[in-house]
């Protein structure tokens, strides 16, 4: 027995729990057993479903019974490439995701800066609660609240009219979607930006001041570059969440507000054309892959 030769003491109760001794002798076996379930879950459920998605995208359906026909072809992708309506939908989805991300970054940065570097401990706690509180309420309830604000006889038009301004009919338009998305995903931008800003060492700011840099110069040359990974990390959330959403366009959007997600949903729910839906959903996957590659280059993963 090699174990005895090295002179290690036998673990107590080793006889009662036969595996314990085995694990003690072979530490790699323990890690293997511990890691197998999560790894298996990752590979089988997470990764395999993505592969299946990709494979399904190359199948087609019987037009009448809507059953999947497993014939390898690229007609789904050809349809997306050739029909202008899908260019519009993809373009609209990406454009709105970019707009929402920029808006949230612009709103979140001063807010997070105040939270991280100016506010007292007490105010900081209060602000944290204020940022996170909306996440406790249902997503749907918050979207419906915005419908009540933006619709024709809603709070916005009522306020405008009571101070003598003409109504702003932005209910059920892409502008309404932009406002609602920016509101809903704002906390996901504030938190990583705050985390990055809080990590900026005080000494660097002092050194910058000592060398004669004014406030704005310090922010531009010291704070912004150091906080950028946090903003990019936040943008991964705001961008991908907008890109994949399909509920807000249905509820808040108007006649020309279809998103990629809506077409995917209608092809699964209405047409039962799962291969075409799969082909469409590879588009956000591809866009996110490119986005994450750039984000990784900008150091966002260290800030997460």
């Amino acid at each position: 027995m090699a174990v005895k030769a090295v002179g290690r003491p036998r673990p107590k109760g080793g006889g009662a729990v036969p595996f314990a001794a085995l694990f003690w002798r072979l530490p790699w076996l323990r890690s293997l057993l511990l890691l197998t379930p999560p790894l298996a879950w990752f590979v089988v459920i997470y990764f395999a479903s993505l592969v299946l998605l990709l494979v399904t995208a190359f199948w087609t359906t019987d037009p009448f019974t809507t059953q999947v026909v497993q014939v390898w072809n690229t007609s789904n992708f050809e349809r997306i490439l050739n029909e202008p309506v899908y260019h519009d939908i993809v373009g609209r989805t990406v454009l709105l995701a970019v707009l929402v991300t920029l808006t949230d970054a612009a709103l979140a940065f001063p807010f997070a800066y105040y939270m991280a570097r100016v506010a007292s401990r007490r105010v900081q706690t209060l602000l944290f609660a204020a940022v996170l509180l909306p996440l406790w309420a249902s997503y749907l309830a918050r979207v419906y609240a915005w419908i009540l604000i933006l619709n024709h006889s809603g709070l916005l038009n009522w306020s405008l009219q009571s101070i003598g301004l003409p109504p702003a009919n932005i209910g059920y338009t892409n502008v309404a979607m932009w406002v609602v998305f920016s509101y809903i995903w704002l906390p996901f931008m504030i938190i990583p930006t705050y985390a990055a800003l809080e990590r900026v060492p005080e000494s660097l700011l002092e050194a910058s001041a000592d060398l004669g840099a004014r406030r704005w110069r310090t922010i531009r040359d010291i704070v912004l570059p150091l906080a950028l990974p946090g903003v990019v990390a936040g943008s991964i959330f705001t961008f991908s969440l907008t890109l994949g959403d399909y509920i807000t366009p249905v509820l808040v959007g108007g006649a020309g507000s279809t998103f990629i997600g809506n077409v995917v949903f209608s092809n699964i729910g209405i047409a039962n054309n799962i291969p075409f839906a799969a082909a469409l959903s590879t588009i956000p996957v591809a866009i996110m892959a490119v986005y994450l590659f750039i984000a990784q280059r900008l150091g966002a993963f260290e800030a997460l």
Partner: protein, 392 residues
């Protein structure tokens, strides 16, 4: 790459052709024979199996009538609510069958279920109230093929023209109101591919030269004209309504003033005091007819028949009609409706003669095969992609 697509299309067409080849029966019907057509339905209803699994529209299996069914038959009812016809088709097709006994499918799902082999023939003789059904609903073409019943009709309703009476002092008499440029920003429509049939119905009267006979059987030329009309209509529409409750709030908040609706919305809006009314314009209207269909692999067929018998009785028909805002197919239900809510029989058109029902074009799945047997009609999957194009 194109070659692959061509091969796929050729194979699918080949499959369809083989299916069609075996279908021309002695009656001269050009319809394909559904895969379950030869399955013999039950001769008599035996004892219940103690369990019944249903896919239903929300509100179709309400406790107020489910409870007494469970007590008398001992069949425990489990209902899975579906949000759309197509969700029902997916539920029935995915998972191999065998989980579900029945589905309360609407006409636009029925043929897909029948030709998909997901439902099987039912014996109408076992449903005693079937004799009391409105003639049309005994053998509607969306659930009966070559005299074989793939389900028992349940309830129906028209897609009416709902309008705000403050904006439209005079009741509109034509569907042209929802295509009229002067109503820009006031119009809404149901966010669903079957809405194409509403436009086709209007064109069948306003442009007779197109020769549209059935709004669900459109040739390429007719279909393109209909889609063009809807593309034009999109400019007038602020928002398509995705669900009944959305349309109700749009009419309440001044975001819509006219558009197609179900009687349910009118009832709810009127109850809330909104200035609305509805009408069936001169062109007629589309409508839906729901059917309880029996799954091919139904594990509890006796309970399924007991349930169908139960929901076909005048009393349950009336309860469900008032609960959901629709019209019973059982003509005897009128008296029960009056007893529950005076005036409701006329309000829901439950006492209308057959000639009224003839003005309603009931939802059915658009197929490649037209009524004349030619293969020139535009099938449903193209309706779905056209709908995406229309909405943009």
């Amino acid at each position: 790459m194109k070659f692959g697509a061509v091969v796929a299309v050729a194979m699918v067409t080949g499959l369809l052709a083989t299916a069609c080849g075996s279908s021309n029966t002695s009656t001269g019907s050009k319809h394909r024979v559904p895969p379950t057509a030869s399955m013999k339905p039950l001769d008599k209803v035996g004892a219940g199996e103690g369990l019944l699994n249903l896919i239903a529209w929300e509100g179709y299996v309400d406790d107020s009538w489910k409870k007494s069914f469970e007590q008398t038959t001992g069949c425990q009812v489990h209902a899975q609510y579906a949000g759309s016809s197509d969700e029902m088709v997916s539920l029935m097709q995915n998972g191999g069958g065998g989980q579900w006994d029945m589905v309360s499918a609407s006409g636009d799902a029925d043929l897909r279920l029948i030709y998909g082999g997901d439902v099987k023939p039912m014996n109408e003789k076992l449903i005693s109230d079937w004799q009391n059904f409105q003639t049309y609903f005994k053998n509607p073409q969306y659930n009966t093929i070559d005299g074989v019943h793939y389900g028992i009709s349940l309830q129906w309703g028209p897609n009416v023209l709902l309008y705000n009476t403050n904006k439209f002092k005079i009741a509109p008499t034509s569907w042209s109101a929802v295509y009229d440029n002067s109503n820009k920003g006031l119009v809404t429509a149901y966010d669903y591919p079957i809405t194409i049939a509403d436009a086709a119905l209007y064109l069948s009267k306003s442009q007779p030269s197109l020769g549209i006979k059935d709004p669900y059987e459109l040739t390429k030329k007719q279909f393109d004209a209909t889609v063009a009309l809807l593309m034009q209509q999109r400019q007038l529409i602020k928002k398509y309504w995705p669900s009944a409750s959305e349309e109700i709030s749009m009419f309440q908040n001044g975001d819509a003033f006219i558009g197609a609706a179900w009687p349910y919305q009118t009832i709810q809006l009127k109850a809330a005091g909104a200035p609305v009314a509805d009408t069936i314009p001169s062109e007629g209207a589309t409508g839906w007819g729901d059917t309880w269909m029996l799954a091919t692999k139904a594990p509890h067929p006796n309970c399924a028949y007991l349930w169908t018998q139960y929901v076909s009785t005048a009393k349950v028909q009336a309860e469900q009609a008032l609960f959901f805002g629709e019209t019973p197919v059982n003509t005897k239900a009128c008296g029960e409706m009056e007893a529950l809510q005076a005036g409701s029989c006329a309000q829901y058109h439950a006492s209308e003669p057959g000639s009224y029902i003839d003005t309603i074009h009931f939802w059915k799945t658009p197929e490649t095969t037209c009524a004349d047997g030619s293969e020139n009609c535009i099938p449903y999957d193209q309706w779905v992609s056209a709908w995406t194009t229309i909405k943009g």
